[in-house]
Symmetry: none
Amino acid sequence: MLLFQIDPHSGVPVYRQVMDQVRYHLAAGTLAPGRQLPSIRELARSLAVNPATIVKAYSELAHLNIIEIRHGRGAFIHPDPPVMPADERRARLRQLTNQLVVEARQLGAGEKEIRDALEQTLNEINPEPPET
Amino acid sequence: MLLFQIDPHSGVPVYRQVMDQVRYHLAAGTLAPGRQLPSIRELARSLAVNPATIVKAYSELAHLNIIEIRHGRGAFIHPDPPVMPADERRARLRQLTNQLVVEARQLGAGEKEIRDALEQTLNEINPEPPET
Amino acid sequence: MLLFQIDPHSGVPVYRQVMDQVRYHLAAGTLAPGRQLPSIRELARSLAVNPATIVKAYSELAHLNIIEIRHGRGAFIHPDPPVMPADERRARLRQLTNQLVVEARQLGAGEKEIRDALEQTLNEINPEPPET
Amino acid sequence: MLLFQIDPHSGVPVYRQVMDQVRYHLAAGTLAPGRQLPSIRELARSLAVNPATIVKAYSELAHLNIIEIRHGRGAFIHPDPPVMPADERRARLRQLTNQLVVEARQLGAGEKEIRDALEQTLNEINPEPPET
DNA sequence: GTGGTCTAGACCACT
DNA sequence: GTGGTCTAGACCACC
């Protein structure tokens, strides 16, 4: 059961894909706060990428307060994730839905199709956030 | 008179922002199929960016069959927009909603909040696509 | 007149020294907001270090909102630097003076000697901040 | 009963924090020359860190002539603290005040604010060093 | 064992 | 021209 997988040909930088995977697993509950992440060397080996690439991914996640790096100990999901003020959050959400709708329309999707896709994804990614 | 706005400090490549703006206006109905786009020189001047940047944006859009460049005439929204097979479209939609939900969860948003944001955006960006 | 110089044997990471130099020049007024920094390659060459090291220094400074990196354009001192709430600022200041006094005492310096050193430094690093 | 506090998440190496605490207590007068330090085992347990980390901290302090390790007896604050030539001391002081002022300016602090912070700290950390 | 820094050099993306 | 990503591999620091 592989927790991480990346596509080296997707055009998306590998370190970005790693970051996205961590965030995905966090959202999906596969990785809970406080849990330890794979070590840099180990993950680098299993993904067949250079360790420096994982270093960059982890560092960026640490900057975002999503993970915590303890020198000589390893990397861990941050125990208490950062919160964002409700209004900022709403603004960011609108930005995200905007991108979604613009591209969806371009694909020719109707409103129902967009809503359905969202519902499926909501079901897939675990009911509710861990009581925030 | 079309509204184009770009933020040179946002980290998103300028040519990408120009593309996004065209796509936004298309989705929102502000730009209809067949309509003419601003000329490269004009747009470059009004956005204070290098004309080569606009050239790149328009070329990419032409490549995606979203616009059509007629030599010596200008650039136009493609009269019949590209269609995508339903299954591909669904896959892409799921990818988009996935990104949305992952980040929304990270912000601490609940399901309702996400749905509400989507509904608002759907209202804002014009009821239905030009008959699908 | 060299703006930057580093000591590869000081034990302080080179990228850290570069960051410190930028911050120093900013504080001293040698580098004003909006001004362009040396390009990565150029600085790397003149300091005889690897470009990746400068990339790291600049990236970290960008994270701190001290500089702004514009892809394909260069790196610039951020036009409006970040402000910190007065109470946070005071707390941080106390932390800094604490470190200073602890080490100064260890060196056997009396109060006057510490105050004098501070006064000299204040004179050296330009009278007042550019009217904040 | 001495107060040692460390923050494993601060980014500062734990052994460094232990060193800093000893130096702090020395400067503040809480630990006087000749006094005995907590044993390695005891301190490691009470701080919940690896004993090897305390060993390293004590070794470094011994190396700096700040403490003295007497085999089988324990660790003690060095009876006569190391002295540094006046000019070296001044140079080091200037380095320290330089760091202080650079960061203080970056925070937007004026000269008065910096001086005030220093004065408060001087008051807090006990009037004068044990006669220099 | 863990993470952090740096080099030399290739290749790509943006303006 | 500019900055960004990645590799292969060395060496150091922390626990």
